[in-house]
């Protein structure tokens, strides 16, 4: 029995090399991690700001200074009509318009309320709220400095897990999970259907090989190839992107092995149920790219999702592995955390269910 499997594994390896897929299978994960690691920046900085100062007094100028010399605003004081300025936001040349009313200084000294006009481009939902937060922070800081009112409440912010709030720290652990769902699944999705299209599946039908042996023969080479990727990604993350590694290596090795089995299993399942390679590719893209990006908790936390989206996130293995990844790199509770142990068991259940389905749906006849 082992001999049959070894033969099949050898054959698969040869095909990988011959069809130049092996090369792609390493280039692909590396490019994705580099693109995300170097290119993705979700910090809100350099907000293009226009200030219309209708007062032009020392106080109003002092106020506008709050929007200069910070990395958050790229400010320009301009002398145009409100409508023209609004038009600039409309044509996407600026995100923020602040209008300082005339009599700003006079009214402030008298203590009469002053109305500050703030116009924000609201197209990107999160961005507009952040901008409005920044503006009011600048406003408080101005008021505090003008009224010689000392701030009495002081914060002691303690940023847990990602102390300096680096986007890279927040995104990379999730990206490893994203890569591990995309690449192995796409590979294995074509393994069986390819044989169906080429007709070489009849070799299997006619051989004495059992369904289990066939599946193992497909699984082993993929597993070896992609497990190397998992380890390479770990090295890149720690050495190049300088993420901390606070959890246990054993947890990383174990959970990644389980997740890799799931990813390959999903691919094989797609491969077994589809009839053509194109359908296999699209089905894989559908079950990996979309839930991987959208329902994984990388972009938006799962507990803020509602209804079907929340449900989708839970029936998909991604969120469990993503949580474990965050623990390994940033939190470091490891096996001592009940949640992490629970998530590991859930991954085991996924593996069992997926391979049971694979075994059930694979046919050894026409």
């Amino acid at each position: 029995m082992t001999k049959k499997i070894t033969q099949l594994v050898k054959k698969e390896f040869k095909e990988y090399v011959r069809e130049r897929i092996l090369f792609l299978s390493y280039i692909l994960p590396l490019s994705i991690i580099f693109i995300i690691g170097y290119g993705l920046n979700m910090d809100t900085e350099h907000i293009r700001t226009m200030i219309i100062d209708n007062d032009k007094t020392p106080v109003s100028m002092k106020f506008s200074q709050k929007f200069y010399n910070t990395k958050y605003f790229d400010s320009k004081t301009i002398d145009i009509s409100t409508n023209k300025a609004l038009n600039k936001i409309k044509t996407n040349q600026a995100e923020l318009l602040i209008i300082i009313p005339s009599n700003f200084e006079k009214n402030l000294l008298k203590g009469t309320p002053v109305h500050l006009g703030v116009y924000i481009d609201g197209v990107y939902p999160m961005l507009s709220k952040t901008i409005s937060g920044y503006v009011s922070a600048a406003l408080y800081s101005f008021v505090a400095s003008e009224t010689s009112m000392k701030a009495k409440i002081v914060y002691e912010p303690r940023n847990l897990f990602n102390q300096s709030m680096k986007t890279r720290w927040a995104v990379i652990p999730g990206s490893i999970a994203l890569i591990m769902i995309l690449v192995p699944a796409m590979f294995s999705a074509l393994m069986v259907v390819k044989e169906k299209e080429r007709g070489t599946i009849f070799n299997f039908y006619a051989s004495s090989m059992s369904k289990g042996e066939f599946l193992l023969g497909k699984l082993i080479p993929s597993f070896i190839i992609h497990y190397i990727t998992v380890m390479a990604l770990l090295l890149i993350t720690i050495l190049l992107f300088e993420l901390p590694f606070r959890g246990s290596f054993i947890l990383y090795a174990l959970s990644s092995a389980l997740f890799l089995l799931i990813s390959i299993g999903i691919g094989l399942l797609v491969s077994i149920v589809t009839k053509s390679q194109i359908a296999a590719i699209i089905l894989t893209a559908m079950v990996t790219i979309i839930p991987g990006v959208l329902y994984s908790g990388i972009m938006t936390p799962i507990d803020t999702m509602e209804g079907m989206a929340n449900f989708t996130a839970h029936i998909y293995p991604m969120m469990y592995y993503v949580s474990i990844m965050y623990d390994i790199f940033l939190i470091g509770d490891g096996f001592s955390s009940l949640v992490i142990r629970e998530y590991l068991y859930i991954l085991v259940v996924f593996v069992l269910v997926i391979y049971f389905l694979n075994y059930l749906l694979l046919r050894k006849k026409l």
């Binding site: 490019s31 693109i35 290119g39 109305h115 897990f161 359908a279 329902y295 507990d303 989206a309 939190i331």
Partner: protein, 364 residues
């Protein structure tokens, strides 16, 4: 001549309609997924759960601060009695922020003495935690200025363009653009490579049709399918369910989408001309789609990204498309101002086509 062209078109459509699975995928991407994502996913800062530890218990000022943490930004306010429990629940993702008020909070404020609030923040979710931090600080600032002086400046904030249900409509639009990208690239690449895989390539060569015409007909067949999907999705899901606003010109939106679909099919053509087999098509498609999605301004605007990324993004047709669509749908920018976006997509499409047609054409 037109007869031959339409026969190729019909052949491709027939193949698509025979494959029920494929039709379902197209339907899923254009209708079901957009509906689910729009209904359920908040890319907005809302629904954050906050944990409060009031060391004194039932403090007057703490209650006052709590009363200003309201929806939609904050959902559940959970009162804790121990520091460790807060810490634990942040780890379990039950809450995202913990605020710890000292025992002397009330007395200190009454005596105008300095006092400290501890703020525990889960920062594994970068953008949301950053926003929540700014928001909380502003709430406390607001609270303390009210305690001392009447803050003399009132901010009159106007959020322009589509304030209500913005998160939902934004999400649906973003998913629609993703669906177009994904399908255009994969379908158009597959339409060529499948001929190689199914050994019908030689048959195709024997067909008495000019190779350029063959390429255009095959691509056009996919563009038409995607445009129909786009229109259905727009009509049924985006306008029908989510009440998408349409501030700019509708026909400009259609034209821009048509151009973009052609450009994205150009990427597919590029992949098809480079890939040797379908496995390579799949992998190269991922290689293109992931960076396109992350780096084209679908989540945060392009202008907020690093300069290198901005520079690279000029090569991405999705960048122009997203900008153009957001301008048309939400901002209501007059079409004349969108010439950059139209031109960008157009140039990229032309370049991709020249390359792809030359390379695939050689194989004929």
């Amino acid at each position: 001549m037109m007869g031959k062209f339409s026969i190729i078109l019909q052949k491709e459509w027939l193949e698509l309609f025979r494959s029920r699975g494929m039709l379902f995928f197209v339907f899923y991407l254009f209708i079901i997924n957009i509906y689910i994502a729009g209904k359920g996913i908040n890319i907005d800062a809302r629904g954050v759960n906050v944990g409060i530890l009031d060391e004194k218990g039932n403090s007057f000022y703490v209650n006052k601060i709590i009363s200003s943490l309201h929806e939609p930004e904050f959902e559940n306010i959970i009162i804790y009695t121990s520091r460790n429990k807060i810490y634990d629940d942040i780890k379990k993702k039950k809450i995202m922020v913990g605020l710890i008020f000292p025992r002397t909070f009330d007395i200190d404020i009454a005596n105008k003495k300095e006092t400290k609030i501890q703020l525990l923040l889960d920062t594994t979710v970068a953008t949301l935690s950053y926003y929540t931090y700014t928001h909380l600080v502003n709430i406390v600032n607001n609270f303390q200025t009210q305690q001392t002086v009447n803050i003399p400046i009132k901010m009159e904030t106007h959020k322009l363009f589509n304030q209500n249900a913005r998160s939902q409509t934004f999400m649906t639009l973003k998913e629609l653009m993703s669906a177009i990208t994904l399908l255009s690239i994969i379908l158009s690449a597959a339409v060529f490579v499948k001929e190689k895989e199914q050994d019908t390539w030689d048959l195709m060569l024997l067909v008495p049709v000019n190779s350029y015409m063959m390429i255009f007909a095959k691509l056009l067949s996919q563009v038409v399918v995607i445009m129909i999907g786009f229109l259905l999705s727009l009509g049924i899901v985006l306008f029908g369910v989510f009440d998408l606003p349409m501030e700019g010109s509708f026909s400009a939106l259609i034209l821009l989408t048509f151009l973009y679909t052609i450009a994205a099919c150009g990427i597919g053509l590029f992949i098809a001309s480079t890939a040797k087999n379908i496995t390579q098509v799949g992998l190269m498609a991922i290689l293109v789609i992931i960076p396109l999605n992350f780096l084209s301004g679908g989540i945060t605007p392009i202008d907020a990204k690093s300069e290198i990324v901005q520079w690279f993004s000029y090569l991405s047709p999705l960048r122009y498309y997203i900008e153009g669509v957001l301008n048309l749908v939400f901002r209501g920018t007059p079409t004349i101002y969108l010439w950059e976006q139209f031109l960008g997509i157009f140039v990229i499409a032309i370049v991709l086509f020249i390359y792809g047609v030359k390379k695939i054409g050689k194989l004929f």
